[in-house]
């Protein structure tokens, strides 16, 4: 007869992932796992939404955390845990996209070439989302890791498994391609 699991959860999603939490997760302690999830789930889900879209983000986020809890022994501590987490998440998103080869979906409204668009925050957000879906997934990842997750070039290199010296040039490409996509969608500064 199994014992009934009872755990208390600290719902304050503040603080950093520390070794005590990781050790608890390695032991399979549910409190620690829940704590880790609370500290990290927003950033993982956010990345997934912008990488693969809101329809698939929850499933992939779920998969990321299952991977993390199962494979935590592979995290050696040589990098920050958050960097390793982003790497798991980015790998998951890129693998998903390789399988499903998502296509960008243009905005339903036709752009008016001769008219400067008003800056409406909601529209800008949608424009950028559409432009992001149109660029190469790797470049999309790098842009999101820098602009949204605010990772350093060193951390981005570790997440993406690329030389640190190439992060700048890839961001150049990402930004230029996004700018071109936005122009194609009718956006002008």
């Amino acid at each position: 007869m199994t014992s009934k699991r009872v755990y208390q959860v600290d719902t304050a999603a503040t603080g950093e992932v520390n070794e005590a939490i990781l050790a608890g997760c390695r032991r399979g302690d549910r409190n620690s796992q829940r704590r880790l999830y609370e500290l990290c789930h927003q950033r993982v889900y956010r990345l997934m939404v912008h990488m693969v879209g809101v329809d698939e983000a929850a499933d992939l986020t779920q998969q990321v955390f299952l991977q993390v809890f199962r494979k935590l022994d592979r995290f050696s501590g040589q990098s920050k845990f958050e960097t390793w987490l982003y790497r798991v998440a980015a790998n998951e998103a890129l693998q998903h996209q390789r399988k499903h080869r998502r296509r960008s979906v243009p905005l339903p409204t036709e752009p008016k070439v001769d008219e400067r668009r008003k800056e409406v925050p909601g529209e800008n957000r949608e424009l950028l989302d559409a432009a992001l879906q149109a660029v190469d997934p790797q470049l999309r990842s790098i842009f999101l890791l820098r602009e949204v997750e605010e990772l350093s070039y060193r951390d981005i290199a570790q997440v993406m498994g690329i030389p640190e010296g190439t992060v700048g040039s890839r961001l150049n490409r990402a930004r230029r391609e996004l700018r071109q996509q936005l122009r194609d969608l009718g956006w002008e500064h």
Binding site: S3, Q63, F69, R70, R74, F143, S169, L171, H189
Partner: protein
């Protein structure tokens, strides 16, 4: 104005990743280069738009879905969507095999009646349950008890070829992250069984049982007997905190004691199935761990 070099450094300049000397050089260039200045302004526009990307609300049930998958062995009947979707994303072939997974949460074993043979089934049931209970407390002690109570001899898996040319699955090696600690042929009431103890990289133990097929059997049947499964599907049991998984593996049937979850069991079986055609190493040496190429999770 030629500014290929400065163009290349523009993002690093914008993100503050240049040395102070490089930064000063690029800054001076920008003051005299409308093209680079315009590009820098475009970077800033993108940043503003990225700032406007909303923090999407996380579905409120996401943790419970994760927890459900983590708890999968403890449930009487698994919720198919969460568990199967997680397995599907990992290994579609495993999903096809596990489509008939039946999870039974029980304090007593069901279906192990004929594991040790008909007339002594009840004794065998109790014996296996005792082994599992001992395994939970102390895997080494459980092994010593098993080997002491039943006739057992060490098995050299490199050259092991048992009745009818049968080679246990563990003779084909183990994926990265597991090492073989010991292997014995144990004379159980229902027939000889291979008992192997494996260690994960964190030192925890996992036991693998496999019944040697009888003379009239083409392959080893389910070690759990007919009441457990008909040999074509997976059956899982949990005794206290210990999970056991009875799993067809090609022409073999393995019982894993101490699997962490159904995913671990599935990965091991899938690995054995992939390497099943490799046969014994040509040099006759003991099998060695082979990298699990299916794994996606990097070392950190």
């Amino acid at each position: 104005m030629e500014c290929a070099k400065e163009q290349e450094m523009l993002s690093a300049y914008y993100d503050g990743e240049l040395s102070s000397a490089e930064r000063a050089a690029v800054a001076e260039h920008i003051t005299n280069c409308p093209r680079c200045a315009a590009e820098l302004a475009a970077f800033s526009d993108l940043s503003e738009m990225a700032d406007a990307l909303a923090d999407p609300p996380v579905p409120s049930d996401l943790w419970s879905r994760i927890e459900r998958d983590l708890d999968a062995p403890a449930r009487a009947v698994p919720g198919p969507r969460g568990l199967m979707r997680a397995l599907w994303l990992n290994n579609p072939r495993w999903v096809a095999m596990a489509a008939s997974v039946i999870v039974v949460f029980t304090a007593a074993f069901l279906g192990y009646q004929s594991w040790f043979g008909g007339s002594s089934a009840q004794v065998a049931d109790q014996a296996f349950q005792q082994y599992v209970e001992r395994f939970q407390r102390d895997p080494e002690a459980a092994g010593r008890w098993l080997l002491a109570d039943y006739r057992a001899r060490p098995l050299d898996l490199a050259s092991a070829e048992l009745r009818g040319g049968f080679r246990p699955v563990v003779a084909g090696g183990l994926p990265t992250g597991y090492t073989l600690e010991s292997a014995h042929l144990v004379e159980m009431p229902g027939g000889p069984c291979v008992h192997a103890v494996c260690r994960r990289s964190d030192g925890s133990a996992l036991a693998v049982f496999e019944r040697v097929p009888k003379a009239d059997e083409k392959a080893g049947g389910c070690v759990c007997g007919d009441d457990c499964c008909d040999g074509s599907q997976c059956q899982m049991h949990q005794i206290n905190e210990t999970l056991t998984v009875c799993q067809p593996c090609g022409n073999h049937f393995v019982t894993l004691v101490g699997a962490r979850n159904v995913q671990e069991a599935g990965r091991l079986v899938a690995w054995w199935q992939r390497t099943a055609g490799a046969g014994a190493p040509a040099d006759g040496k003991a099998p060695h761990a082979i990298p699990d190429t299916g794994s996606r999770v990097p070392a950190g």
